[in-house]
């Protein structure tokens, strides 16, 4: 974070570059962020699916957890195996509340004795306070405000970064390493929020602008904004916090039970474990599903989902146009009995019924470089 706009919005270290690139800047989670560049969301989206796109995600919270007992404390707040996380590995997890709902979702990486977390921008103050309350004396957590975060995503992202550091080729999906890239000491994780192969790059704020320009000078790379980031993650079936998951949805309902560590399922000991473990055993009361509307009209967040008799059976939590598919797609929650792919449902859009069918997620196959 470097400075504020006249109306009090925080600016990322790449602010001047966004301006120079002609970005349209919008308020997002207290930041002034690029929603799109002159190419537009459709082109930026396809650029990421076909080549490589560079996103500024410096608004997200980078947190370092350190000291004795930090991993144990994190395990009381989130159902991940933090103690068993190997060096240089990254995992996806979520802070849960006592009811089993989700307070935020995040990524964690083991780096020596420390854990590095990346949390949502809108939740970072609350997450930090939540962590601080849980940590024992001697353990600490700190927001790394002097770091920027970039995401280079797309099938050609690896080729671009390998040009700067051949060791990038050794990383597999959810591996993380400290590497020197174009003279900058950066932490690279082979992860992202687009469904494509790609990397998230944490680096010193003061080096971020020049580094981003260096990447943009590569022939495969174009900038992409939050608009494309949202349509990419929707096609990839990835949850957006505050929309597809929140304090009222459990990880089991959201289809995120795969992220609950094996040991944690057996032992419990995290907030909301009673509800979450019961739902794992007996099934959840609702399930997140993919939804394919008939026709061309996008069905957006907040619309009720209806069954064949017009009864309300759920709600759309994310929806819009899928540029890679050239059609609208959505996600939402329905009763488990209606979750099977191909179930015929409906929604009401501007007073008219629209047919839709449940569909498997993701809508677009993931391109992750798995081991």
């Amino acid at each position: 974070m470097t400075g504020y706009s006249p109306d009090g919005l925080a600016r990322t270290p790449l602010h001047d570059l966004h301006r120079a690139l002609g970005a349209r800047l919008v308020p997002f989670a207290g930041y002034e962020m690029p929603v799109q560049y002159p190419a537009g969301i459709l082109k930026e989206h396809l650029q990421c699916r076909e080549r490589a796109a560079l996103f500024d995600v410096s608004h997200m919270g980078q947190v370092r957890l350190s000291g004795a007992g930090a991993a144990e404390a994190l395990e009381r707040l989130a159902p991940l195996d933090a103690q068993g996380l190997p060096e240089g590995r990254t995992r996806y997890s979520f802070f849960t509340n006592e009811a089993g709902g989700i307070l935020d979702d995040f990524m964690t990486t083991r780096v020596g004795d420390d854990l590095l977390l990346v949390v949502n921008a809108a939740c970072k103050a609350a997450d930090l306070a939540h962590l601080q309350r849980a940590l024992p004396a001697g353990a600490r957590c700190a927001l790394l405000e002097d770091r920027a975060l970039l995401a280079l995503q797309g099938p050609q992202a690896a080729a671009v970064l390998q040009r700067l550091a051949p060791a990038v080729a050794d990383l597999r999906f959810m591996d993380s390493a400290e590497l020197e890239l174009a003279g900058v000491n950066a932490r690279l994780s082979r992860s992202g929020y687009t469904g494509e192969d790609g990397f998230e790059i944490s680096l010193p704020a003061e080096a971020a602008g020049a580094f981003a320009e260096r990447l943009l000078a590569e022939p495969e790379v174009e900038p992409a904004g939050l608009g494309a980031r949202d349509s990419l993650r929707l096609e990839a079936g990835l949850c957006l916090y505050g929309h597809d998951i929140d304090e009222t949805t459990t990880p089991v309902e959201a289809g995120l039970a795969w992220a609950i560590g094996k040991r944690r399922r057996a032992e419990g000991g995290f907030a909301g474990a009673d509800t979450i473990l019961r739902q794992l055993a007996e099934g959840p009361p609702s399930k997140r599903v993919g939804l394919l509307p008939e026709g061309r009209a996008p069905l957006r967040e907040g619309l009720e989902i209806l069954d064949g008799d017009g009864r309300k059976v759920g709600r759309i939590t994310s929806g819009g146009f899928a540029p890679s598919l050239g059609r609208p797609v959505a996600m939402g929650y329905v009763a488990p009995g209606l979750a099977e792919a191909g179930t015929a449902l409906a929604a009401e859009l501007r007073g008219k019924p629209v047919a839709l069918a449940t569909a498997p997620l993701p809508f677009v196959k993931h391109g992750y470089k798995r081991p």
Partner: protein, 125 residues
Amino acid sequence: MADLYFTEEHEWLSVEGGEATIGISQYAQEQLGDVVFVELPEVGATLAKGDQAAVVESVKAASEVYAGVSGEVTAVNEALVEEPAKVNADPQGGGWFFKLRLSDAGELSGLMDEAAYGAFVEGLG
């Protein structure tokens, strides 16, 4: 020769012989970004000034297109249904939305001409 008018909601109206062709302005299409869906009114529908007449959706959001004047819908641009990107490519030409037979030509006096609209957009920053 048609007369060109604009509304504060960024619609343009090209009026000739008591009929208005209506679309969204260049400024509006730039603000919306890539248009992916258009919903048009029914031919024969009667619209009052300020009524919602059509819907235009970009990747990000849905917006309404209003009838800047009252009248009856005489034609709609069906090409936009299959090719909504026409709205971005040629907003004040091939990207027109619908035509309206004016029921009160006097309402036109409340609209902006091209120069006034240009100044209006300028003022939006």
